[in-house]
C-alpha cells in the first residue's frame, strides 16, 4: 500500500481518516488540547462542505461564517428561549439556513467571479449585523449563553466527548462528500467548474447545481454552528464575522481545492498553527501570513494536490 493510494478517495482514504482521528488523542500533550482539536474537527467539517462549493463547483462564498452563525444562534435561541430539544433545534436551524441559502442562492449564483464574491460577502455582513443589532433576540454584541447538548437525556459533556462527536461527524461528512463527487450529480457539479456551456449543452442545468451545492455547504456550516454553540456554551456575533468567512475559504485553498482530504488538512493546519506559533507572540500573524503566501506561490493548487502530484511524478520517474 503506497501513500498515493492511501490518499486516493474511497480506496482507503476514509479508513485512514477514521484511524487518524481515532489515534490522534494519544498524541495530545494535555487535556486542554482537546478543545483545540474539537475546533479543528468542526472547522474541517465546514471546510469539507465549503470545498464542494469552492473546490469542486468553482464558485466562491465569502459569507459562510454567516450560515455557521445562523445555525449557532438558531440552536441557542430555540433551545434557550423556547425549550426545543437540541437535536430538533439543530435540524430546524439547518432547514431554515438551507431554505435561506436556496432562496438567496438563486439570484446570487448567476453572478461570477468578483461579483459573486461581493454578493456572498454582503450576505455574511448582513447576517453579522443582524445578530449584533437584534439584541432582544440574540443578546446583541455581548453574546448569548447556550445550554448543553443533550440527546435522550444524555448530555455531551466535556471536550473529550465533543471530540468524538466531531470526529464522527467529520468521517460522515467526508464520506458524504466523496460519494457526491463520484455520482452523476457530483460530476455535473465539477463540469460546471470545467465549462458551464460545455455542461449545459449535454443537459446539465448549471444554475440548479450551483444553488444545490451552495445550499448543501450552507447546511454543513449551520449544523457545525449548532454543535459549536452547545460545545462552547456561549456565543457572540463575531463567530459570523467577515474574518471568519475569509478564514474558512483560506483553509480550503491552503489544503487544496477540489480535494476533500485537502480541505480537512487545511482546516486542521490553520486551526493548530496559531497554537504552535504562540511562542512567536507578536509575530504570530505575520508568520501565519508568510506561510500562506509561500504556499500560494509555491503550491498554488494547495498542499494535498501538490503532494499527490509530486508523488505521481516520483512514481513515474521510478
Amino acid at each position: 500500500m503506497n501513500a498515493a493510494m492511501m490518499l486516493a478517495p474511497r480506496t482507503g482514504g476514509l479508513a485512514a481518516l477514521a484511524l487518524v482521528v481515532s489515534l490522534a488523542p494519544l498524541t495530545f500533550p494535555n487535556a486542554y488540547f482537546y478543545d483545540v482539536a474539537v475546533n479543528a474537527l468542526f472547522n474541517a467539517v465546514v471546510c469539507v462542505g465549503l470545498n464542494l462549493l469552492v473546490g469542486y463547483g468553482g464558485q466562491i462564498s465569502l459569507g459562510h461564517a454567516g450560515f455557521f452563525a445562523l445555525g449557532a444562534y438558531g440552536s441557542a435561541i430555540l433551545t434557550g428561549t423556547y425549550g426545543v430539544p437540541p437535536v430538533a433545534a439543530l435540524a430546524a436551524s439547518a432547514a431554515a439556513v438551507g431554505a435561506l441559502a436556496f432562496v438567496v442562492g438563486r439570484p446570487i449564483l448567476r453572478l461570477k467571479g468578483h461579483y459573486l464574491a461581493m454578493a456572498t460577502l454582503g450576505i455574511g455582513i448582513i447576517i453579522h449585523i443582524v445578530l449584533k443589532t437584534e439584541s432582544q433576540v440574540t443578546g446583541g454584541p455581548d453574546g448569548i449563553g447556550v445550554d448543553a447538548f443533550t440527546v435522550l437525556g444524555l448530555a455531551v459533556a466535556g471536550d473529550k466527548a465533543w471530540y468524538w462527536v466531531g470526529a464522527g461527524l467529520l468521517v460522515f461528512a467526508v464520506w458524504i462528500s466523496l460519494n457526491l463527487i463520484d455520482s452523476p450529480m457530483g460530476r455535473a457539479l465539477r463540469a460546471v467548474h470545467g465549462s458551464e456551456v460545455g455542461a449545459e449543452v449535454v443537459g446539465v442545468d448549471t444554475g440548479r447545481y450551483k444553488v444545490l451545492v451552495f445550499t448543501l455547504s450552507a447546511v454543513f456550516a449551520s449544523v457545525v454552528g449548532s454543535l459549536f454553540a452547545h460545545k462552547n456554551g456561549f456565543i457572540t456575533p463575531d463567530i459570523g464575522s467577515f474574518f471568519r468567512s475569509i478564514e474558512l475559504v483560506t483553509m480550503v485553498v491552503l489544503g487544496g481545492m477540489a480535494s476533500t482530504f485537502g480541505a480537512v488538512v487545511g482546516a486542521v493546519i490553520l486551526t493548530l498553527l496559531p497554537q504552535l506559533l504562540a511562542s512567536f507572540e507578536d509575530y504570530e500573524a505575520m508568520v501565519l501570513g508568510g506561510i500562506m503566501m509561500g504556499t500560494m506561490i509555491f503550491m498554488p493548487k494547495g498542499l494535498l494536490p501538490s503532494l499527490r502530484a509530486a508523488l505521481k511524478r516520483r512514481r513515474a520517474a521510478a
Binding site: 460519494n179 452523476p184 465539477r190 467548474h193 465549462s195 443537459g203
Partner: protein, 252 residues
Amino acid sequence: MTLLRIESLSKEFGGVHAIEDLSFVINPGTIHSIIGPNGAGKTTLFNLITGVYTPTSGRILLDDHDIAGKRPFELARLGMSRTFQNLQVFFNMTALENVMVGHHLHLDRRFLPSLFRLPAIARRDAEARAHCLELMAFVGIGRYGDADAASMPYGALKRLEIARALAARPRLLLLDEPAAGLNATESREIDEVIKKVAATGVTVVLVEHDMKMVMGISDHILALDYGRKLAEGTPAQVRANQDVVAAYLGAH
C-alpha cells in the same frame, strides 16, 4: 417533416450582423454542412440553434415548436447536442468523466441516493462507465480512459467532445469544425465517425473548412457569407455556384 426550421433569423452584436435574415430547413437523417469564410457566422448560428445565444429576431423551430428563449440544457433534453470550435472540455476531470457528464440525462440524478451512494447509483454508474468507454473507443480515444483531460493532445480532445456529445444520445448533433487542427489521416477518421453516427439515424449538422470532407459526406450544404445565405443545395450544386467560388477565392 422537417427536424429544424430556421425562419428569418438575425443576430446582431452591437452593429455587427453576425447572422442576417437567414432561413433554411434541416431534414432528419441527413448530414447537413454549413460552410463559409472566417467570420461568416457559422459558430454564431450554432450558438443560436443550441440556445447559447438568443436571436435578435426570427424563429427557430424544432419539430415545428418554437424553441426561442430555451436554455441549452433544455434543448439537450429535446435531443440536441454539440461540440465546440474552441474546446469546452472539462479540464478538471478525467476523459471518461467528461464523457459520463455527456450521459448526464440518462443517469440517476437523485440527491439523497447520491449522497449515500445507494446501490442503484453505483450500479447505474458502472453501466454508464462501460457505455462511455465504448463511445470513447468508437471515436478512437479508447486508450485515454482514466487519463486527465488536461493531459490529452489536441486531436484527442476534439474526439473527446464528440464522444461527450454522443453520450447524450442526441437526435440532432452539431459539430463545429471537428477536423480543425487535425492531419489528413485523423480527418479521414473523423469523417468515418460522422458517417457511422449518421447511419444510426442521427441528424448531423457540420461546420467544417475541410472541403474534401464536406463535399464527400454531406447530403446538403448551406454556404454563408457575412451572415447571409450565399447558396444552398447538394454538394455538386454548391460547388458549381459562382458566388461560392467568388467568396472562397476572395477569402483565400
